[in-house]
């Protein structure tokens, strides 16, 4: 199956809250971190950006948020050019960085007040209290950040990003170094945010996280956006199903009568694996079973399995660009 690079999105897409056109970034040493990125992020969706280390995910987020200068291309956030109309664009964005960068000597509440003010919003104690309560930080509001655990610091960073009520929230590796319980709490919070209308873009190494939460998946590899697709569609298009048959007797090779079928024989000759297209109406399983019977091949067990998002992701980043599947 072939899958071409994503087309240039329609600039007039009314539901896009972030529009990226021909975005590129080449660092001073000549390293090309991003190449010709075109992407529309839909209002209210959860988009997960996947990619191996150094793929360009953080660079992309950093450009949108104003931390890194793009070499070429344009980005619009909430309808505002991030360079020429940076005030309005940035006011709409909240960022939770990957690293635990905090003001160690400040209290939790003081750092939230700072963040809200910095983003041009008047004081709103009720909102800050809600954010802190939602993140189970209310009891820690007067604690100095340096006294908090890593997981708590991560929550503080999320609270800071939410303090000015952004329409777009970037979560750069939100689960890095976070225990399972906090991760699930965070997923719950992200879902609540989405329900309240916030658009969420997250980068993650945990494929499970993307699979659990995302509406759409984007995969970045070597600076290029190689695919962006609805999660369900991606899994259907790029995923594969397999039927595994445990044979009664070992075979030395696949018989001539089964030639042409997508079959693989295990080294011990006791397992036959049939791979079929998930999109096809006709899986070919009935034909396979009939031909097995004709060949006198008996099996004692059979089971089917489906690709996980992780397998799809690994396949995508291993294949050359333009032929991800």
């Amino acid at each position: 199956m072939s899958h071409s690079a994503p087309p240039v999105p329609d600039a007039a897409a009314s539901d896009a809250i972030v529009s990226i056109r021909n975005l590129g970034k080449t660092y001073a040493g000549g390293f090309e971190a991003l190449r010709d990125i075109n992407l529309d992020i839909r209002r209210g969706e959860i988009l997960a950006l996947l990619g191996p280390n150094g793929a360009g995910k953080t660079t992309l987020i950093s450009i949108i948020c104003g931390i890194v200068n793009a070499t070429r291309g344009t980005v619009y956030a909430d309808g505002h050019d991030i360079r020429h109309d940076y005030r309005a664009a940035r006011a709409a964005i909240g960022l939770v960085p990957q690293e635990l960068h905090t003001d160690a000597f400040e209290s939790v509440m003081a750092t939230l007040k700072f963040s809200r003010g910095l983003f041009g919003r008047p004081p709103n104690p009720a909102h800050l209290e809600k954010v802190l309560r939602d993140l189970s930080l209310w009891d820690k509001r007067n604690a100095k950040i340096m006294t908090l655990s890593g997981g708590m610091k991560r929550r503080v960073l999320i609270a800071k990003a939410l303090s000015h009520e952004p329409k777009i929230l970037f979560l750069d590796e939100p689960s890095a170094g976070v225990d399972v319980e906090l991760r699930h709490d965070m997923w719950q919070m992200v879902r609540q945010l989405r329900e309240s209308g916030t658009t969420i873009i997250l980068t993650t190494h945990y494929i499970e996280e993307a699979e659990e939460m995302a509406d759409r998946i984007g995969v970045i590899n070597k600076g290029a956006l190689i695919v962006v697709e609805d999660k369900a569609v991606l899994m259907r298009k790029l995923g594969k199903k397999q039927l595994t048959l445990s044979l009664q007797q070992a075979m030395e090779r696949i018989p001539e009568g089964l030639a042409g079928l997508p079959l693989e024989l295990s080294e011990d000759g006791l397992t036959l694996v049939y791979t079929f297209d998930t999109q096809s109406e006709e899986t070919g399983i009935a034909g396979l079973l009939r031909r097995l019977g004709e060949q006198g091949i008996d099996f004692k067990d059979l089971r089917s399995s489906e690709s996980s998002l992780e397998e799809i992701f690994v396949n995508l980043v291993r294949k050359p660009k333009g032929n991800p599947a």
Partner: protein, 253 residues
């Protein structure tokens, strides 16, 4: 204009000042008091008058300037260097604030602290030396102008520095020697003619001279020249900061 943003930065920086009162206020006041005791009360009593002013009173403007320059640079450079060092600068860079607003917050707080310090030293000096202020409004204006200008200079150092050593090198290796050689403890008219001319290349001479004029009505350099030079340095610093934020030098990759 993002007033809330300016206020947030200003309050954040002032809170840092009040969290470290011993280091930021008490320590420079104490060390300057020692100068007054040694050079003013002890050695000063054996020195003759300079331009009709007792030596103890003569050195007050220079000593205030010495603290003011160092503290302004230190406050502002530390204020912007720490977020760079700790990584929290990401928030400032991603916030809807212009470079002017960032300056008003950081430099405003650093200059406020310096003015407070200058006034505290002035009050402290009263315990050791008798003095009068001929032009109090000019004195205060010079105090504010110098605090703002050198806080701005410190802000540039904080943006430029990528380690703690660089943060200290300019104040210790450049500003302090220039202040000592800029007439803090003597009138440049006491120098040989050649050194008088060389000293005029030292920008701190104009600061101390102008400030001293506001106290005693006489100075090494005309007040207009002092004011002009200080404003010129302020303009250069503003231009540099504007360029840094426009290009993202040392801030945005």
């Amino acid at each position: 204009m993002n007033i809330h943003g300016i206020r947030a930065i200003y309050r954040f920086e002032m809170a840092r000042t009040f969290r470290t009162l011993m280091q930021s206020i008490a320590s420079p006041v104490l060390s300057t008091s020692l100068y007054f005791i040694v050079f003013g009360a002890a050695i000063g009593s054996r020195m003759g008058e300079i331009d009709g002013t007792s030596y103890g009173a003569f050195i007050i403007p220079g000593l205030i300037m010495l603290s003011l320059l160092n503290e302004s640079i230190s406050n502002a450079s530390f204020g912007i260097y720490m977020p760079k060092w700790a990584g929290t600068i990401y928030e400032l860079l991603s916030a809807p604030v212009s470079w002017v607003e960032v300056l008003l917050g950081y430099v405003g707080a650093a200059a406020t602290k310096s003015v407070m310090l200058g006034l505290l030293i002035l009050i402290t000096a009263r315990f050791f030396v008798a003095y009068e202020i001929a032009h109090p409004i000019w004195m205060f204006a010079f105090l504010v102008l110098t605090s703002v200008t050198f806080s701005l200079f410190g802000f540039i150092i904080g943006l430029w520095a990528d380690d703690f050593q660089k943060l200290q090198v300019i104040p210790l290796m450049v500003v302090t020697p220039l202040t000592f050689l800029g007439g803090a403890f003597y009138s440049i008219s006491m120098l040989p003619p050649l050194w008088q001319k060389i000293t005029l290349f030292n920008p701190v001479v104009y600061l101390i001279s102008g400030f001293r004029w506001s106290f005693y009505g006489h100075a090494d350099v005309h007040i207009a020249v002092s004011t002009g030079m200080t404003l010129g340095f302020l303009a250069i610093c503003l231009a540099i900061v504007s360029w840094i934020f426009r290009t993202g030098w040392k801030l945005r990759s």
